[in-house]
């Protein structure tokens, strides 16, 4: 038998109990730390999720003003217009709700359901620009 294996098997009972105690204590203190530091009140500007029937997550944290500034007033980057699956350059759609085109489910008129439209538009742009949140809970911060 390999020496490191032998050492493991013949370790005393006292040692084992201490190991278990240490592990349990460690887990408990980690849990306590989590509970204490979890409470934190904050106000965050969010997207309104009224268009979704029963959203599982709170509306994404989003500052319209910051985005206008970062995108040099080019509204059409987010408020885009697609015709027959093709992006119409220069056209913008600020007067419409996202959900006017992006229905909740895929349909012949709409290839991109509302949830995926938001996720792809926000996340892919953040990835492309190397800037902004990209993980689920970075936008859908718990209320």
């Amino acid at each position: 038998m390999k020496p490191w294996k032998r050492k493991f098997i013949h370790r005393g009972n006292k040692m084992k109990k201490w190991t278990i105690c240490a592990v349990v204590l460690g887990l408990l203190s980690a849990a306590g730390w989590v509970v204490v530091f979890a409470q934190e009140d904050q106000y965050l500007e969010r997207l309104d999720s009224w268009a979704f029937e029963s959203p599982r997550r709170p509306g994404a944290v989003f500052s319209h003003d910051d985005h206008i500034m970062d995108l040099d007033d080019d509204c059409s980057i987010c408020h885009h217009v697609y015709e027959e699956g093709e992006l119409v350059p220069g056209e913008s759609s600020e007067d419409y709700y996202c959900s006017d085109c992006h229905s909740l489910k895929v349909s012949p008129d709409n290839k991109m359901p509302l949830e995926a439209a938001y996720h792809n538009l926000c996340r892919d742009c953040h990835f492309d620009r190397g800037k902004g949140p990209v993980l689920c809970g970075e936008c859908h911060i718990k209320e």
């Binding site: 098997i9 278990i20 989590v34 530091f37 979890a38 995926a116 996720h119 953040h126 993980l135 809970g137």
Partner: protein, 219 residues
């Protein structure tokens, strides 16, 4: 940082999936080949009927005699193995990612329920670790690698639980979650986790030998 996340949630998922599937395939093929070389007569009494009968018998909870001898352990083990697959595969957040990548989707577990089931998986893993310390005949068969493997399964569930609750260091928790999940997939073909492939092979062999040679049951 975003490009690192893009890598571990993009190409790295493919790399680990390929190692996972390819590794298991390679393992399966090499097992069958080595049987063909060393003990080809086994195939003379292997039958589909006896193989499936044995697998079926061992899939019914507490049907095999030896599972009734250790009911607590087997109850936890059954539950653990089901949840190990059900919780990640039917988790809403995972389904959203799969839907956006492949445009396929299926019903998801309620988040609150999934949260409790995750805790059950974690509890079961802690039970397995403690059992290895407490039961002498199992301690005798245990080496450091067994605890390491338990830790490897524990990690994606613990980090996933903490990430869902967004309690602290969310970004790092998700990175740890993704990486530990991928590590687990990669390790499967090269560790005892490959029993997800070899366990059915064992049942096929035992079922055929007991059923077709000894005319006995193997459960």
């Amino acid at each position: 940082m975003n490009s690192f996340i893009a890598f571990i949630m993009g190409p790295m998922v493919w790399i680990s999936a390929i190692i996972f599937v390819g590794g298991l395939l390679f393992k399966g093929i090499s097992i069958i080949q080595s049987v063909r070389q060393k003990e080809p007569y086994i195939f003379s009494y292997m039958t589909v009927k006896h193989s499936l009968r044995s697998m079926g018998a061992w899939l019914v909870p507490f049907f095999p005699k030896s599972t009734r001898l250790r009911p607590v352990y087997y109850a936890i083990s059954y539950l653990f193995h089901i949840l190990l697959f059900v919780v990640p595969l039917f988790l809403a957040s995972h389904i959203v990612l799969i839907n956006e990548a492949f445009q396929v989707s299926w019903p998801a577990l309620n988040d609150g329920l999934a949260d409790w089931l995750t805790l059950l998986v974690i509890a079961a893993l802690i039970f397995f670790a403690v059992r290895r310390q407490m039961v002498p005949e199992i301690t005798y068969l245990t080496s450091a690698i067994d605890y390491l493997l338990i830790l490897l399964v524990l990690l994606p569930f613990v980090t996933g639980f903490l990430a869902y609750h967004q309690w602290f260091a969310y970004r790092w928790m998700v990175v740890a979650h993704v990486l530990s999940g991928e590590l687990m997939l990669i390790i499967i073909p090269f560790s005892r986790f490959s029993h997800m492939l070899t366990a059915p092979l064992t049942r096929a062999y035992m079922g055929s030998e007991f059923g077709n040679v000894r005319h006995a049951r193997d459960w």
